[in-house]
Each structure stands twice: as structure tokens, then as C-alpha cells.
Amino acid sequence: MKSEPTVPTLGNLHEQQSPFALWIDGVGGYLVCLSHRVTLGQATPEGLVDIALIADVSRHHATIQRDPEGYFLEAVRKVQMNGKPIAKTHLRSSDRITLGKTCQVQFWQPVPVSTSARLDIMSGHRFAQPVQAAILMADTLIIGPQTQSHIQVPDMTEPLILFRNKAGLAARWPGEMQIDGRTFKDRAPLEAGMTLTTEQITLALERIR
């Protein structure tokens, strides 16, 4: 804990904001976006948007912004929400967003006490990254057995919580955690590129270039 810098530098602020892939053994892969503003659009070799979709959508099709009041969806190109064309709207859990003609994404906030949200593609399209869902991580990311988890893992007995602090990311788990050969108890600092193992779950955070 003593190594945590109290004042974030510009460099690690940028690092803190960039998305990473979360690979969980036996569960799935997730794209975790940390920025309060994420762009959605077509997957291109340049990788212009935060959440790239392999679908018939524009290069920058929409933006989702997290404010203290909640999430807002802003259309850049044609966007419908729950079947109605919109320009800008407030998002609520289980809203369906249609980008272009066919690409449909569902917005979820499965945990009432957490601001973090999850986007699942419902139309059979895919993310550019081979992941199941995109997670818009605000304060916490709960991986646990209950339905009120951002990532549900029925085999677990206790939730593993990823959270953000001044230094960046950290994990909370009631027990021992191994991170890249070091053992931690209850809490551990975490950053992209590390692998965390507990007796119930193994997850890897991969930096996305």
C-alpha cells in the first residue's frame, strides 16, 4: 500500500483510463472500459473507438457518457432506443439500443449499488475483441455467484470485487490471492497484464493496444 502514489501523474492517468480485456477461466472474456465516456463504432484496423463492433455501423456511431446523474446515450448516426429513434437519451437497465439497421445492444446495470454497467450484443454481431460483453466500470466490478453481479459465476461462494482507488485498480477477496507469484490477503493492487488466482477463480487482465 505504501507504494501507491497519492497524486496521479498524467501518464498513469492515461493508463488508468485505457480499456483492458478480462479473461476468466471457465467463464468468459470481457472488455472493461474505465473511461467515463466510451465511443461505439465499427471495428477498423486503426481502432478508433473504445467499443468496436463487427457490424454494419459507422466508424463512430454513438457515445455513452457516464455522469453523476447516470448514463446518457448520444447518437452520432442513426440510433434507436427500444424501437424509437433518438438523438440523446438517458439509459436505464435493460434498454435496447439499435445501432444502424441491425446491430442491437442491451444495456444493463445488474447491481443496484454499483454504477458500473454492462453491454451485451443481442443481434448475433460481435465485438472486435473476442469477448462476451463490454463492461463500463465506474467504481466496482462484481464477479460473483448472485444474479446481482456484473459477471455471474455460479460456482463461486463469495464475490470477488474489482474496484478503483487513487492508484488505479485493486481486488477484494475474502481469502488468499496469488498475483504473478506474490500472495495477498483480502486486498491486492491490480493492473493490466497481471493474473490473479484464488482457489475459486483465475482471471487475467490483458492490456489492449
Binding site: D25, G26, T195, T202, E206
Partner: protein
């Protein structure tokens, strides 16, 4: 779940592991991305058996939209084998079924079944038995069924004599004949039946505490089809039959019936190019033919043996109660043996009969009649006559002439109510002809095998017993005297009861349902 390899490692050059997917019976499965960006599933096969790898190689170039494609087999620096496969982004059927504990809609189950059947058909067409069909090996990706793990099955040719009875299939989906070590593609049809049952109800047909208990149920217990939608009952009945010869001959046949019942689109008649425009389903499996009849006979004999033993018990109970009620102790032994003779003459040909053409009723009647003649001769001998055989020099004339026995007992019997029923002496026919015609005709006029079928409507039908009573009464005049009439008449009626009581009978689920509805109405 603990995996050996971590995210980011490259056990095979060019493939970067992202995460573990699952732990299978054959090894760990990982999700990996190639340097070029292709997503694949990597299966680490720990066993070094060449035989396993040969099975994989046989399947490596199969192409079917409902099969998980195999791309390559690679060996890493340490000598471990890796199977490079298509990555399926969807969920395994096991996860889907866990979410639907009471099964899915019949239409959906029917639709999924079509995909499953197409995949199995493709494997069978290529001479491959899957042997391990289970929800964990079946995936749903964008509504399309994908069957995996078939690479680790053996070739049908090998499976005939390999004698590898271990590790074949998960017990819940294991066909009964696997225990004999002698099986063919029919085990996949059985497993498909179990899967259809599970999709419809959310449960496997046989559940139990231990693998042994479940295996025993596969071998002996008929599945409880009362939970299944009514229309699917006959299909599952046929697919889950213990005897592989009575199941659907091909998965296509089953899929067609499922499609009719569920309203799903049936699978194309010939999805694969065939050299022969009208392929004989048997021809595609030359290996399957030699073993089937022997297996059938073994099972039939085993079933028959059990039935014959029970029929002895039933005959004893009936004969003893009859002699106690009517005080006919002296006739107990002949009655008992005659009932057994009649029952066995019905049971043995009925249970060993292999169905031929649609209407072989007269062949069967004539065969039963021949046995009826034999029973007649046996009854003759039981009644105290010497058999009219040419090598017995002391053949007595009574055989050819009416019986002249103990007149007092005969008179007593004649005066009783029974005597009135059994009528007066028949003195016009030789005794041998009397016996032959009575028993022969009794076996000819009735379709005895009908009451031995497991599909008969009731276990013990009073109507069929009454039919025996009626016909035996009509032919009663043929028997020479009151003595013989009583024995002949009663033994036939008893045998009719014995046969029905001892023959296995499957209760129809639909009948039960109707009754329940009436009860609740």
C-alpha cells in the same frame, strides 16, 4: 477450475492462450487467438495413445454446419498433443438446460433436435460413432446446434471388437448395450433420445445416486414418459428401447418423426452426396450387420428365460388354488404340467418371433397349431395313455378307441354341475384325433401372441381370457370324456392367464394421463 496454462502463454507457437474454457474427460480446453487473429479452441490431449489420435485424424476433414470443425492436430515441444478446433462463442446445452429446469418448449426442442440429428447423421454417414453425446458436448451458437468432441470417438470398425467398454459416454446417456461391449451407432440414437427427453423435461430419464444405479436403470427400467409431451411419447419409447434392434434404424428416421410432431423443419433427405441414388441404410454400415442378430437373440433368450421361470410359478399358484377349491388333488400334477406346456408353447414362439412381413398372422397361427398338436400328445400322455409311437410295441388300443376308464368317478363327475357343462362322451373319434384336433384348433383360432406383446392395452385382459373360455367350450365336444374335458378346458384358461401375467407389459403414459384428468375433473 484450475488450468495448467495461463492467459498470454504460447504452448504452441503462433497460438496465444486467452483463457481456459473447460476441463473435459480428455484434457483441458482453452480459448486462444492465432497470430493472424483467428479465434480457436485448443484441446490439450494428455493421453499419448496413438489410437486416440487416429480417431481424431479420421474426423479432421469432416465438414458439416452442425459439427464443431477440427482444424489441426499439433504436437508441442514437450510431446503433448493439441487439437485445434473451431471456437464456439455460444453456450453448451448443459448451461442452457440448467437455466430451464423444466425443459424448453417442444417446438424449440424439436428444432434443436434437427441440428443434433444432422450432425449425428453426418458422423454415421462417415462410419463414425460419436459415443459421447451429452449436453456438455453440444453447443448453441446463434441458434445453430454444434456438436463437438466427436474427434475422440473411435471408428465404428474399431469399436466392434476393441472391447473398450470403459470411458464410453457419460452414464446418463449410455445405452444399455454398452455394458456388453458390443455396440454400434444405435448408441448414438439412444443418447439422442435421452437428450430429447432432457430438452423436453429438463431431466434425464434415469437419475440415481451412483453410476452403477443409473446403469442398472438403463438396463432394466423403462423410462417414465409421463412428463414428456404426449406427441413425443411414441418417439421416445422407440429411441429409448433397451433392445438396439427395436430402435430407429437411422437418426434421420427419428428426426423426421420429431419434425412432424414438433412442427420443426425436417432435415434434408440427403444432405450428403451419395454414390447410390437410393441408399440402403444398412449398406452404409457393413460392420453393423453381423453383430445385430446375435445380440438380438442373446437378449431375447435372456428375456424369455425369465418369463418361463415366472410362468412356472404362476402355473403352480393357479393349479394349486384350483385343486384346493374343487378338491381335485389327484389332478393337480397333470393340471400343473399341462398349464406349463400350453403357456410355454405360446411364450417360446411369441418371444422368439422376428417380425417379417406386415401380415404374417397365418404363418404364426399355423406354427402355434403345430405346437398345439404337440401339446395334445403331451396331454394324452398325461391322461395316462401310452404314446402312439411305432417303436413302442405295447401301444395300446385305447389310443385309437374311446376311453374305458373308471366308470364310477366318471359317473360322479357327469352328475355334478361341472359334468353338465362338460357334456357327454364323444365316442365317435379316436382318442389321438380328439386330442390333436382340440389343442390344434385352440392354438389355430386364437392369436395367442397378441397377449404376449408388451404393447397390449392391459396387462391382464379379461376379454382375451373370455375368448379362450368361449372357444375352448365350443371345441369341448372334441375331447373324449368328462375327465379330459375338465383338464383341457381349465388348463387352457389358466395358461391364458399365466401368459398375460408373466409377459412384460409397458403401461402407456397417455392412458395414465387420461385417467388422471378424469380424476381431477
Amino acid at each position: 477450475m484450475k488450468f495448467t496454462y495461463r492467459s498470454g502463454q504460447q504452448p504452441l507457437p503462433g497460438y496465444t492462450i486467452k483463457r481456459g474454457i473447460g476441463l473435459g474427460g480428455f484434457g483441458e480446453v482453452y480459448f486462444a487467438v492465432t497470430d493472424g487473429g483467428k479465434e480457436v479452441a485448443l484441446k490439450w490431449i494428455r493421453s499419448n495413445l496413438d489410437i486416440e489420435m487416429r480417431g481424431v485424424q479420421q474426423c479432421l476433414n469432416l465438414k458439416h454446419p452442425n459439427l464443431v470443425h477440427l482444424y489441426d492436430v499439433r504436437t508441442d515441444e514437450t510431446g503433448n498433443h493439441w487439437l485445434v478446433m473451431e471456437y464456439i462463442a455460444g453456450e453448451p446445452m448443459s448451461t442452457i438446460l440448467a437455466r430451464h429446469p423444466n425443459g424448453v418448449a417442444p417446438e424449440l426442442a424439436g428444432q434443436w433436435f434437427q441440428g443434433l440429428a444432422q450432425a449425428i447423421h453426418c458422423l454415421h454417414e462417415h462410419g463414425i460413432v460419436h459415443r459421447d453425446l451429452k449436453p456438455g458436448n453440444i453447443f448453441l451458437e446463434d441458434g445453430l446446434i454444434k456438436v463437438g468432441d466427436y474427434g475422440l470417438c473411435k471408428l465404428m470398425a474399431e469399436s466392434q471388437n476393441a472391447g473398450m467398454t470403459k470411458d464410453v459416454g457419460t452414464v446418463h446417456y449410455m445405452a444399455p448395450e454398452i455394458s456388453t461391449g458390443n455396440y454400434n451407432r444405435q448408441i448414438d440414437i439412444y443418447a439422442a433420445g435421452v437428450l430429447l427427453y432432457e430438452m423436453l423435461t429438463g431431466h434425464v430419464p434415469f437419475e440415481g445416486e451412483s453410476a452403477g444405479e443409473i446403469l442398472m436403470k438403463h438396463l432394466t427400467t423403462p423410462p417414465d414418459l409421463s412428463r414428456v409431451p404426449k406427441a413425443f411419447v411414441p418417439i421416445l419409447e422407440k429411441a429409448l428401447t433397451k433392445n438396439p434392434a427395436n430402435r430407429y434404424a437411422t437418426i434421420q428416421e427419428m428426426a423426421k418423426e420429431v419434425a412432424t410432431v414438433s412442427g420443426a423443419r425436417p432435415m434434408p433427405v440427403a444432405p450428403l452426396p451419395m454414390p447410390n441414388p437410393k441408399p440402403n441404410p444398412e449398406d452404409a454400415y457393413p460392420m453393423a450387420i453381423p453383430m445385430t442378430p446375435t445380440l438380438v437373440y442373446q437378449q431375447r433368450w435372456a428375456e424369455l428365460f425369465g418369463i418361463l421361470l415366472w410362468s412356472v410359478v404362476a402355473a403352480a399358484i393357479l393349479a394349486v388354488s384350483w385343486s384346493l377349491i374343487f378338491g381335485a388333488y389327484s389332478k393337480l400334477a397333470p393340471m400343473f404340467f399341462l398349464v406349463i406346456a400350453v403357456s410355454w408353447s405360446v411364450l417360446i414362439p411369441s418371444k422368439l418371433w422376428v417380425p417379417g412381413s406386415d401380415d404374417d398372422s397365418w404363418t404364426r397361427r399355423l406354427m402355434h397349431m403345430t405346437l398345439g398338436f404337440a401339446v395334445g400328445i403331451f396331454a394324452l400322455w398325461l391322461d395316462g395313455y401310452e404314446l402312439p409311437v411305432p417303436w413302442a410295441p405295447s401301444t395300446r388300443l385305447e389310443v385309437l378307441h374311446p376311453w374305458q376308464g373308471d366308470q364310477d368317478t366318471a359317473d360322479a363327475l357327469r352328475r355334478s354341475w361341472m359334468g353338465k357343462m362338460y357334456g357327454s362322451e364323444n365316442t365317435s373319434m379316436p382318442i389321438l384325433a380328439c386330442y390333436l384336433s382340440f389343442f390344434g384348433l385352440m392354438f389355430l383360432v386364437l392369436r395367442w401372441w397378441k397377449v404376449t406383446e408388451p404393447t397390449r392395452s392391459k396387462r391382464l385382459s379379461i376379454l382375451s381370457v373370455l375368448a379362450v373360455v368361449l372357444w375352448a367350450y365350443i371345441f369341448l365336444f372334441l375331447l373324449p370324456s368328462v375327465h379330459h374335458r375338465e383338464l383341457g378346458f381349465v388348463s387352457l384358461v389358466m395358461a391364458s392367464i399365466v401368459v398375460q401375467v408373466t409377459c412384460p407389459w409397458k403401461e402407456k403414459a397417455s392412458v395414465k394421463k387420461k385417467k388422471m384428468r378424469l380424476a381431477t375433473a
